[in-house]
C-alpha cells in the first residue's frame, strides 16, 4: 500500500467525545500531521484544543494560517474560518460563505487535502448531525485516498457517517473504538 503522509478527520455533534477516544488510542510514534475539523459553534476552539490535549499523547494545537503542518501533531481548525491545505503543506484560512451550513467546513478541508496528497491521505469521518464531509470524502476517494467512516451504529449522531457512506462509500467502516487501531496500522511504517 502507498505510504500515508497525512490524516484528516471531520466530525460535529458528539465530536468531542469521539475525538478524545480516537486521539487517546493513537500511537505517539505516528509521524503524519493530523488535521481535525470539528464544528463546535463556539467562537473559539481553545477549550476544545485543551480538552483534546489532555487525552492525546500527540501534541494538539490550533492550526495557524501560513504555518507548516507538523509531523506527529494534531492541528485543529479555528472556529469561524474554513481551513485549507496548500500544496506547500501549509495552512490557509478563508471566511468564504458557509459550505453545507458550516464554517469551518469538513468538505473544504477534505477537498483541499485530497488535491495535495491524493492516494497518500487517510480520512476519518465520524459522528455528526449534518452531511458536511460527505462530498469531501468522495473527493478523497476519487483521488485514491483511504476513507474510514465511523460505524453509524456506534455514532452519537449518525447523520454524518451515514451521509458519508451514501455519497462516498468507505474503505473501512469501523466502530469508534477501532478507529485508532486502524489508523495506527495504516500509518505506522
Amino acid at each position: 500500500m502507498t505510504p500515508c503522509e497525512a490524516i484528516v478527520m471531520g466530525c460535529s455533534a458528539g465530536g468531542l467525545v469521539a475525538l478524545e477516544r480516537v486521539l487517546a488510542g493513537l500511537d505517539p510514534a505516528l509521524r503524519q500531521p493530523i488535521v481535525v475539523c470539528c464544528h463546535t459553534g463556539s467562537p473559539d476552539v481553545s477549550l476544545l484544543v485543551e480538552l483534546l490535549h489532555r487525552h492525546s499523547r500527540l501534541p494538539v494545537t490550533e492550526a495557524r494560517e501560513r504555518e507548516r503542518l507538523q509531523p506527529g501533531t494534531v492541528h485543529v481548525a479555528p472556529s469561524g474560518y474554513h481551513l485549507l491545505i496548500e500544496a506547500s503543506h501549509r495552512f490557509a484560512i478563508s471566511v468564504d460563505p458557509k459550505v453545507a451550513y458550516a464554517r469551518p467546513s469538513i468538505d473544504v478541508l477534505f477537498e483541499t487535502a485530497a488535491a495535495v496528497w491524493h492516494e497518500r491521505l487517510v480520512a476519518v469521518l465520524m459522528t455528526g448531525a449534518n452531511s458536511d464531509g460527505a462530498l469531501g470524502l468522495k473527493a478523497i476517494r476519487d483521488a485514491g485516498g483511504y476513507a474510514i467512516v465511523q460505524d453509524p451504529a456506534t455514532a452519537e449522531v449518525d447523520v454524518m457517517p451515514r451521509a458519508g457512506l451514501d455519497i462516498a462509500g468507505a474503505d473501512a467502516c469501523v466502530a469508534l473504538d477501532a478507529i485508532a487501531d486502524a489508523l495506527n496500522r495504516l500509518c505506522l511504517s
Binding site: 504555518e67 485549507l84 500544496a87 490557509a92 484560512i93 478563508s94 471566511v95 468564504d96 483541499t112 488535491a115
Partner: protein, 279 residues
C-alpha cells in the same frame, strides 16, 4: 502538472494580460475554489471555457471580479475587537484634530457602519473621515446603500452590545420588510471608492487602518507588500487592525509594528510595545 492547475494558471494569465488584474500572488487553495465556484455559477463546465468568455465577452469581467471577491462580512464581527478599538484606540485618536481612517477591503460595508457608530458614540465622528475601499464595485454600491437582509442582521444587535455599544442598536437603522437600512447620517463622513491593494498606491495619511480578513487571501509576498503599503500610509503611532486569525510572522514589513493587543491583532506603527515580528 495536473490539468486543473494548468487551467487555473491560464485563468490567472488571462485576468492579468487581458484585464490588468493580477491574482498570481493570491493564496492558491482559496483562489482555486473560487474559480471553480465561478465555473458552476456561469455553468461553463470547465475553467478554460470561463477563460474564453473572459477573453472575448464584453462586460463579463465585473461578474468575475464579483465571484473572486466574496464580500462576506458582518457588523461588529468579533465584538471584543470593536470593544478594544473603543477602549484602547479611540482615546488615542481623540488627541488628533482630524482623524483619517482607511478601511481596506470593506466588502458590503458592515464594518464601515460599525466604525461610524463607534466614532459617533465617542463624540469623534464629526472630525473623522473614513476612506472605505474595495476592488469590487458591486460590493461598494451595496455598501453605499447600507441595506442588509434582516435575517443577517439578527446577530448584530447582540454583537453591538458585546462590543460595548452605549445606545440601542435599533436607533441606527430603519426596518422595512425583509431588510434593514442603516441611518444614512452614518455615511456623512465616509468616502467609498475602488482601490486594488495589488496595484494601487497609498492615498492618505491614516491614523487607523482596518483591514480584516483580506490578507488571508494573499500569499506571503503580497501580504508583505500590502503591510508595507499600510506602514507607508500610517502616521507614526497610527494603528492597524487585522482579522483575529491572521499571521504576519512571515512578513518583513511587520517589523515596523508593535502589539497593542496581540490576540485581537491590533498593532501600532513604531509604538513602544513588543515587536509584532518575533522571528
Amino acid at each position: 502538472m495536473d490539468l486543473e492547475d494548468i487551467e487555473i494558471q491560464l485563468f490567472v494569465q488571462a485576468m492579468r494580460l487581458r484585464h490588468g488584474y493580477d491574482f498570481s500572488d493570491y493564496a492558491p487553495a482559496s483562489l482555486k475554489r473560487r474559480v471553480h465556484q465561478l465555473v458552476r455559477t456561469h455553468d461553463s463546465g470547465t475553467v478554460s471555457r470561463l477563460v474564453e468568455r473572459l477573453l472575448h465577452e464584453e462586460g463579463f469581467l465585473p461578474r468575475v471580479i464579483e465571484g473572486l471577491s466574496v464580500p462576506v462580512s458582518e457588523m461588529f464581527r468579533d465584538p471584543p475587537v470593536f470593544r478594544a478599538l473603543r477602549d484602547k484606540v479611540l482615546p488615542v485618536l481623540a488627541s488628533y484634530p482630524e482623524i483619517n481612517i482607511w478601511q481596506a477591503g470593506c466588502a458590503y460595508g458592515q464594518e464601515v457602519y460599525s466604525l461610524a457608530i463607534l466614532l459617533e458614540e465617542a463624540g469623534l465622528y464629526d472630525r473623522t473621515r473614513i476612506y472605505a475601499t474595495d476592488f469590487n464595485d458591486a460590493a461598494l454600491a451595496v455598501a453605499t446603500d447600507g441595506i442588509y437582509p434582516t435575517r443577517e442582521a439578527r446577530d448584530w444587535s447582540r454583537h453591538y452590545i458585546e462590543a460595548g455599544g452605549s445606545q440601542s442598536f435599533s436607533d441606527y437603522y430603519s426596518a422595512r420588510y425583509d431588510f434593514i437600512k442603516l441611518d444614512q447620517r452614518l455615511r456623512r463622513n465616509v468616502t467609498f471608492f475602488n482601490h486594488n491593494l495589488v496595484t494601487d498606491e497609498v492615498f492618505c495619511e491614516a491614523h487607523l487602518i482596518l483591514c480584516r480578513n483580506v490578507l488571508i487571501y494573499f500569499s506571503n509576498g503580497l501580504q508583505d507588500r500590502t503591510l508595507g503599503l499600510f506602514r507607508d500610509s500610517l502616521v507614526r503611532g497610527g494603528f492597524l487592525c487585522l482579522g483575529t486569525r491572521e499571521n504576519i510572522d512571515f512578513s518583513p514589513s511587520a517589523a515596523s509594528f508593535t502589539h497593542v493587543d496581540g490576540a485581537l491583532r491590533i498593532y501600532q506603527m513604531g509604538g513602544s510595545g513588543t515587536k509584532a515580528l518575533q522571528r
